[in-house]
């Protein structure tokens, strides 16, 4: 029996790695991928805790999360495509219109 804490630890590690990936990378696309990693880490955590409490609700929740993530990826990619068409670049350092 693997203790749930191990899974939680892994989830935490993955989440932090995703965060670091987000900061290190310069491409909008790859940063988006980092966000997906974080989502997955969250999924892992949900499942681990669901298992710890013995209910099946965790799995249902994970299903929804994955679905929503899929939808989000679709729209996000569409937006990135648009940005690329406009700016010819998806490097986040170039996209600073909000500079204030």
């Amino acid at each position: 029996m693997i203790p749930p804490l191990a899974f939680l630890g892994l989830a935490a590690l993955l989440f932090v790695l995703g965060t670091i990936a987000f900061f290190v990378k310069k491409d909008l696309l790859v940063q988006f991928m980092a966000v997906e990693i974080m989502l997955n880490a969250g999924n892992l955590a949900i499942l681990a805790l669901g298992r710890a409490t013995g209910k099946a609700d965790g799995q249902a929740l994970v299903l929804f999360v994955i679905t929503v993530a899929a939808a989000e990826a679709v729209v996000g990619l569409a937006i990135i495509v648009l940005v690329f068409r406009r700016r010819k670049s998806i490097r986040t350092d170039d996209l600073k219109d909000l500079k204030g």
Binding site: T19, F22, F23, L28, Q31, T92, D93, L95, K96, D97, L98, K99, G100
Partner: protein, 631 residues
């Protein structure tokens, strides 16, 4: 109708409100009509009130409280109007003479472009003056007191694009303020000592031993200081000659008949206090007498026709205070009434002269106008005779009453001063008459001078005032003719302390003769100096140049005030301005603005537009949040 007496101040007040707000859109004719009508209505109401009082024969008059005004802790004031004999006299003078002057102004100011503003202010002044005289409460009286000061400023500086007029208006206001400060202190002392602001309570206070004698004297003197400001006595008279920059009807109404007499009214109203303090009354009497002589000397050498009348006013008000100071409040009041008639007559007639000469006010450029102004000259003469105290005209009776009381009270020095002043009054007055109306015409043929008589709106009031100046004296005949002859004295005496001095008939006759002789002496001297041998004044000036310069320079009082008080104050405030206002106040303001800007720019650094930085902020927030949850 007498029950509507509380409308007396309010009708002109409403008129002022309408004129000041909507005057621009009203026709000249209507403006003049409305303004005069408002005052006329008040006059009618005052008359009705008078009739009621006469019929009542005794009592405390009509009172009405309009509303409760200030209620704060144990102190409360309400807006209360009281119409007793004293108030009746004042109200009639204010509304009666005021009405005539409104009518006169309609003609005099006909070419002025700010016609509406003029009548608005005039009505406003009437409102405040009536509030002052009808107030049953010292706080309300002070409201009127301040209000007339304000209107005086507005009207003196009516032609505000003339620097001299603007300065004169300010001078009047500031000097008045000094007096008002003393007045306020007196009010505060009264409120704490007496506990009530009602005038009847205040008058009864000394008798009820609510005030120590020293306190009564102090309060009375402080109030009188306020009166010296308003009524132009020593030491605060300096604004009145300069106030002649305003339109002549304003000089007639405010600076002859009404506002300047409010100090006298105040002393009469609070006669309870003054009668209780011999010291304060002496101060009043002495300052009055000295001012009377002092101002008369300055009138000897003035060349501006209005300035002569201004100094004359200062001098005559001194007489009124002299009367009040020796206890003869009714006599002082009587002189107030007669003075209102003949002084406003003189001012309005002078206005007629000035108007005819196209604005010329210097007597050195006048002369021989007797033939050119056949309607103005006789009324002017009547006024001059009245003020000089020629027998049977009004001034004679009122001045005589004052001098008699002084003599009867044993105040011989005061009497002598008064008598000397009477000679001087006749002298300078007839100096004016001779130089203006007699002799060779010195006015050149300038185009704007239309040497004709004024329109009827101007001459009719003059005639009415002349009639009163001539005959009003008979209301206050000396006791010589029997006790019942002094109608005025008995009427006013219901409220004011009655005079109790009695003189032997022979003494009375002697006094009357002395008064008559002084008047004739003055007129005779003027005749000699200015009609028969005009060389004499010039020779005197050459013989005593320094005396002449002293008089012509008004004893250098203005210069003394300027050097001793005004300049240090101005310099002091300039210092304060530079070191406090500019550095501290402005510095704080600018500093806070700069700080805001700095903060903004500082925060701007966070707005890099980069996704990464915003994500960093997110991360930080998430860490803090989770940390918070952990703890």
């Amino acid at each position: 109708m007498a029950d509507l007496f509380w409308l007396i101040p309010l009708v002109p007040g409403a008129g002022a409100f309408v004129l000041l707000l909507f005057g621009r859109r009203m026709s000249r004719r209507w403006i003049g009509l409305q303004a005069s009508l408002a005052v006329l209505i008040s006059f009618v109401l005052s008359t009705a009130g008078l009739v009621r009082l006469v019929q009542a024969r005794s009592g405390t008059g009509l009172t009405r409280t309009l509303l409760s005004w200030i209620v704060s802790g144990s102190f409360s004031t309400s807006i209360t109007f009281r119409f007793d004999e004293l108030a009746a006299v004042m109200a009639l003078v204010v509304t009666g003479v005021g009405f005539l002057i409104h009518v006169y102004s309609a003609g005099y100011m006909a070419d002025d472009k700010a016609y509406d503003r003029y009548f608005g202010f005039l009505n406003l002044f009437t409102f405040f003056m009536l509030v002052l005289v009808l107030a049953g409460d010292i706080v309300l009286m002070f409201v009127g007191w301040e209000g007339v000061g304000l209107c005086s400023y507005l009207l003196i500086g009516f032609w505000f694009d003339r620097p001299a007029a603007a300065k004169a208006g300010m001078k009047a206001f500031v000097v008045n303020r000094i007096g008002d400060a003393a007045f306020i202190i007196a009010i505060l002392l009264l409120l704490t000592a007496v506990g009530s602001s009602s005038l009847s309570a205040i008058n009864a206070a000394p008798a009820a031993a609510l005030l120590s004698p020293a306190l009564v004297t102090l309060i009375a003197i402080l109030l009188f200081v306020g009166a010296t400001g308003k009524s132009a006595q020593i030491p605060l008279y300096v604004w009145l000659p300069d106030a002649m920059e305003g339109p002549t009807p304003v000089s007639a109404l405010i600076h002859a008949a009404t506002m300047v007499t409010s100090g006298v009214y105040m002393v009469c109203r609070l006669s309870g206090l003054y009668a209780a303090s011999a010291a304060a009354s002496s101060v009043v009497a002495w300052i009055g007498a000295v001012t009377a002589v002092f101002a008369a000397t300055m009138a000897f050498v003035q060349n501006d026709i209005k300035r002569v009348l201004a100094y004359s006013t200062i001098s005559q008000i001194g007489y009124m205070f002299l009367g009040c100071g020796v206890g003869a409040y009714a006599a002082g009041l009587f002189h107030l009434v007669t003075h209102a008639f003949f002084k406003s007559l003189l001012f309005l007639a002078a206005g007629s002269v000035i108007h005819a000469l196209g604005g010329e006010q210097d007597m050195r450029r006048m002369g021989g106008l007797r033939k050119s102004l056949p309607a103005t000259f006789p009324v002017f003469l009547v006024g001059a005779l009245a003020i000089s105290g020629v027998p049977f005209l009004s001034g004679f009776f009122s001045k005589d009453a004052i001098l008699r009381s002084a003599f009867a009270g044993g105040r011989y020095v005061l009497y002598a001063l008064g008598l000397a002043g009477a000679v001087m009054t006749a002298f300078y007055m007839f100096r004016l008459i001779y130089r203006t109306f007699y002799g060779e015409p010195k006015a050149g043929p300038a185009p704007e001078r239309h040497l004709h008589e004024s329109p009827r709106t101007m001459t009719v009031p003059l005639v009415v005032l002349a009639v009163f100046s001539a005959f009003a004296g008979f209301a206050g005949l000396p006791v010589l003719f029997g006790d019942r002859a002094n109608i005025f004295g008995r009427f006013a005496g219901r409220v004011l302390r009655p005079v109790t001095h009695h003189l032997a008939p022979s003494t009375e006759v002697v006094l009357v003769l002395a008064a008559t002789l002084s008047a004739l002496l003055g007129i005779g001297l003027a005749f000699v100096f200015y009609r028969r041998s005009p060389a004499i004044p010039e020779r005197l000036v050459r013989r005593f140049p320094r005396a002449y310069r002293l008089l012509a320079g008004k004893y250098y009082v203005d210069e003394a005030y300027e050097a001793a008080i005004i300049r240090p104050l101005v310099r002091g405030s300039e210092q304060v301005y530079r070191h406090f206002d500019l550095k501290v106040v402005d510095g704080a303001l600018n500093g806070s603005a700069a700080a805001a800007g700095l903060a903004g720019r500082g925060l701007n650094v966070l707005q890099s537009g980069l996704l990464r930085d915003y994500a960093l902020a997110f991360l930080l927030g998430a860490i803090l949040f989770v940390g918070f949850l952990l703890i």
